[in-house]
């Protein structure tokens, strides 16, 4: 079983930096870490691969950044392909999918796993775009994956429960966050990760035209950016004997009961 996991390296959410007012994109000239959303996919892949299969990573990041990849390698993935090229600056979701699809295709995987969405961009479209570009069937919102011969049996999260879906391999499955508990990298894993192979490739290495990616190839434009509105002060309920009823009414209004 040859499993490829798409992983995104993002600015640390605890120190996220800022949006660039000129490009209207997130500044990525800081140290990047493994997107937590992708740690679930890595964990799921490692569990599916067991001792027999292989798990490799594919990522696209600026400045030859490998910090997040090393974390996933320390968890147990065997190797990684990093696509890093100045020409990729400004790439939109579809271009990202084209680049990742070209990198994934090099290893002819049985299964491709991705997160449902990244924690910085949140477009939530890249996995399905990759599947379409590679002509692979795809299953979204997976909470559980089991492999049975040439079939992936997926429990697909829904609002009311889950759907059971079967899909022939090879396929692409995007997993929801929180469905497995990502393992901590062991200290030995951390030390071993530095020796694991990370192949850095350029757009040209993937057979893509530099003019079809980055700002030049983007089919969408970010027309404006704004700061998120400040969180409003909450309502303080003074208990005059009816606080519980007012809290229930408040929750009822939010439709969370």
């Amino acid at each position: 079983m040859n499993i490829v996991v798409c992983v995104k390296q993002i600015p640390d959410p605890a120190d996220p930096g800022a949006l660039d007012p000129e490009t209207k994109t997130l500044k990525r000239d800081v140290k990047l870490i493994l997107d937590e959303s992708d740690s679930y996919g890595v964990e799921m892949a490692l569990q599916l691969a067991g001792d027999e299969g292989t798990v490799s990573l594919v990522s696209m990041a600026p400045n030859s950044e490998v910090g997040g990849l090393r974390t996933a390698l320390a968890m147990g993935a065997e190797s990684a392909v990093l696509v890093s090229d100045d020409a990729l600056k400004g790439s939109d979701a579809l271009t990202t999918a084209k680049v990742l699809a070209a990198a994934i295709a090099k290893s002819s995987p049985d299964l491709v796993i991705a997160a449902t969405e990244s924690s910085d961009g949140y477009t939530g479209t890249v996995p399905e775009q990759i599947a379409a570009l590679m002509d692979l069937p795809s299953v979204t919102f997976a909470k559980e994956i089991a492999l049975d011969g040439g079939t992936a049996k997926v429990k697909r999260q829904t609002e009311s429960g889950y759907d059971s879906v079967e899909c022939p391999l090879p396929c692409l499955v995007s997993v929801t966050a929180g469905v497995v508990e990502p393992r901590y990298p062991s200290f030995k894993g951390i030390m071993a990760a530095k020796a694991k192979p990370v192949e850095e490739v350029t757009v040209a290495d993937l057979g893509l035209d530099a003019g079809s990616v980055g700002w030049a190839g983007a089919g969408q434009e970010i027309v404006s950016i704004e700061d998120a509105p400040a969180r409003e002060a909450g309502e303080v309920i003074e208990d005059e004997g009816d606080a519980h009823e007012r809290i229930v009414a408040f929750l009822d209004e939010l439709k969370v009961l």
């Binding site: 901590y184 990298p185 062991s186 200290f187 530095k194």
Partner: protein
């Protein structure tokens, strides 16, 4: 960018991983451990499974094979837990007790004990202190006398961290009565006849760390339990003292940074006299100075660790670090309690607990006064 010039990417990852682990697995549960007076063994076994107990054990023996800088990073990361008792339980095992076995154990002893030490099945303690011998190691009165193919140990030890629940206690005992430094080290298994946990000691801080008074009454151990060379135990003990002192400061620095961070957060949100506490110059300047002092100690501790990795005698530097760093950590905790006001005196706040935990740092592992003497006697003009 890594945190300091001594860090490789891997050491940075080890530090980050340690902080993540304690934030997720220790901070939410530590209060219950404080009440129970122990760190649950399943937590220690999880740490073992993650390789946290093998940083200093050579790769050839199943460990990670790193040096003093890794210990410093690990100890500073543990300090983020805010539970000094947890940090002490861990570091006594990894950096104060088990290193004696690694340094002095023969092949059979290493094969018998190291696998369990790495996984956390075997937790270790180091038993040197006695009612009349703490920092003065040569004052040990517990004796070990030849008895056939083994030794009979008699005496008492006190203030032994991990002593209540450890499976393996490494004991310093006097074997040569004609030589003040005539000590030997012994490996004493928990179930050895004549070995007893006489008392679980109650403490001001480090309350989730178990601390014991131990007694040895005609406690027989075979020759195979002699650790290192007969009568050379004093020197075996001294081999690891710089490491012990280093990690004590490092865990204190990690804790002090958390205390400052929590106090900054509190001061910037607490309203008083029409502004926040942080708007008061007396408070913001004191915290700023404490941060500067802490940064200086942090830089010094990694420098000391680097000196140790170079194989040079860093006794003077580490002793100075221990004296100054441990006192500073207490001054920081005092200020952090002060700036939390009444809240800082409540047992529900972390800084209250951390201020109690810090008090032992200038005492344990070599009291400040002893450390200063170590510096002073190396400071005579030659």
């Amino acid at each position: 960018m890594n945190r300091n010039v001594y860090f490789t990417d891997e050491l940075q990852a080890i530090y980050d991983q340690t902080v993540t682990f304690v934030e997720n697995e220790v901070v939410p549960h530590g209060a219950l451990w404080e009440e129970a007076g122990k760190v649950p063994r399943d937590v220690l076994k999880r740490m073992g499974a993650l390789g946290m107990f093998g940083l200093r054990i050579p790769e050839s023996l199943g460990g990670v094979g790193l040096g003093a800088i890794a210990s410093a990073a690990f100890a500073e990361g543990l300090g983020a837990s805010t539970f000094g008792g947890f940090e002490a339980t861990t570091l006594v095992h990894t950096d104060m007790a088990s290193p004696h076995l690694v340094h002095s154990g023969d092949d059979d002893q290493l094969a018998e004990y190291l696998p369990g030490i790495l996984t956390g099945e075997t937790i270790t303690a180091i038993a040197i202190s006695e009612p009349d011998a703490g920092s003065d190691v040569a004052g040990v009165r517990t004796t070990a006398a030849r008895d056939g193919d083994g030794w009979l140990i008699n005496g008492a030890k006190t203030y032994i961290t991990n002593g209540v629940y450890a499976e393996l206690v490494i004991v310093a005992a006097r074997t040569d009565h004609d030589n003040r430094y005539g000590l030997s080290m012994f490996l004493v298994d928990r179930d050895t006849e004549g070995f007893e946990v006489a008392n679980k000691l109650d403490k001001t801080g480090w309350r989730c760390s178990d601390t014991a008074e131990l007694t040895f009454t005609d406690c027989y151990v075979p020759d195979t339990k002699l650790l290192g060379t007969e009568h050379r135990g004093f020197y075996e003990v001294m081999k690891n003292f710089q490491n012990e002192r280093l990690v004590l400061v490092c865990m204190g620095v990690g804790a002090a940074q958390r205390a400052i961070d929590m106090t900054l957060d509190y001061a910037q949100n607490r309203k008083a006299f029409g502004a926040t506490l942080y708007d008061l110059g007396a408070i913001r300047q004191r915290l700023a100075m404490r941060q500067g002092e802490l940064d200086a100690v942090r830089a010094s501790m990694y420098h000391c660790a680097w000196l140790m990795e170079q194989g040079v005698d860093a006794t003077k530097e580490v002793s100075g670090l221990k004296a100054f760093g441990a006192e500073l950590v207490n001054q920081i905790m005092y200020d952090c309690v002060q700036f939390h006001g009444g809240m800082g005196y409540m047992t529900e706040t972390a800084v209250e607990r951390m201020s109690r935990d810090a008090r032992i740092l200038p005492i344990g592992g070599g009291a400040t006064e002893v450390m200063l003497e170590e510096v002073a006697k190396r400071s005579y003009a030659s």
